[in-house]
Symmetry: C2
Subunit: 200 residues, 2 copies
Amino acid sequence: MQKSAQTQFPIHTLMQERWSPRAFAIDVVKKETLQSLLKAARWAASCFNEQPWGFLVATKQQEGEHTKMLTCLAEANQHWAKHAPVLMITVAKLTFAHNGKPNRHAFHDIGLAVGNLVLQATDLGLGVHQMAGIFPDVAKSLYNIPENHEAVTGLAIGYMGDPQSLSDELRERESAQRTRHPLSHFVFTEQWGQSAPLTT
Amino acid sequence: MQKSAQTQFPIHTLMQERWSPRAFAIDVVKKETLQSLLKAARWAASCFNEQPWGFLVATKQQEGEHTKMLTCLAEANQHWAKHAPVLMITVAKLTFAHNGKPNRHAFHDIGLAVGNLVLQATDLGLGVHQMAGIFPDVAKSLYNIPENHEAVTGLAIGYMGDPQSLSDELRERESAQRTRHPLSHFVFTEQWGQSAPLTT
């Protein structure tokens, strides 16, 4: 299934083709492939080149670990994410190494890193479903995530599966068109709320 | 100048070639090009599809506006960013539209959107320098950014310029190799701090 973004201006294929699947194939994701995903994340920009990101990884081959990571996800996500061959939890380091002060951009920079990971996955034919619905405190305790660090998102990763494997409700969401606000809604000039000429 | 990431595993060219220049050419960035950048940002994923991002835009053609936006940047950034043909300030909406509650992932999702924007720019031959060094309160007041919203980063955008145009110190940073921690530093399994087998 493809869900290309319907876009008036040309954007790169990777971003056009990326979407967040819930149905995954059982195919194993090879070690080298996962390495590419994480290397892509690694090369993201970050404030002071702090690289405030951490990734906890569990594959289906590590059965106990996969089940453990599932318990960090909201129940609604567990239902479908349990079939994903790879799960990850992203973790932000909230303070700077060079001075111990709060890093206001820690979550932002996780977004940059995960954005890279997701597009690298798209390029390799994989799907990634990012989940905000996680239990950060459960993750913190289960994985001994240190002070000044916080679990940010969960990632379900794998090759695209058959939407027929999903419940009726999820299958409907799986096949729904991707929608976004128009540029005039969020691109402004001179003042907040004043649409920039380039949005028309 | 190219600063390809030195990477052991293959990652997509866009991510390999992206870096953060400080020297910009005077060439104007066309409206259609900026539209592509913002459309790429638009198609990022976000928690509850909230799309919590806003972009304030000022081009060199809007002289007064360009100068106004510069005053939102830390002085160290103003020195070189004043030559960038396009400046942007990214803004996060910190609460959800559907229930008014805090959006823990607002900054994270700005990162996803900006990540797309930057790779789209790379694809079109442009460079983007993201700046954490901004004055959010100055931006809030100058642009009447509403309550529950916060300026996150500045972006300097343009075609690559001549590093010789920079001061000695900045020219040195401009030509320095990009460096990142090894995977074993931030990819863990079972417990925080336990490097995953795939990092070797």
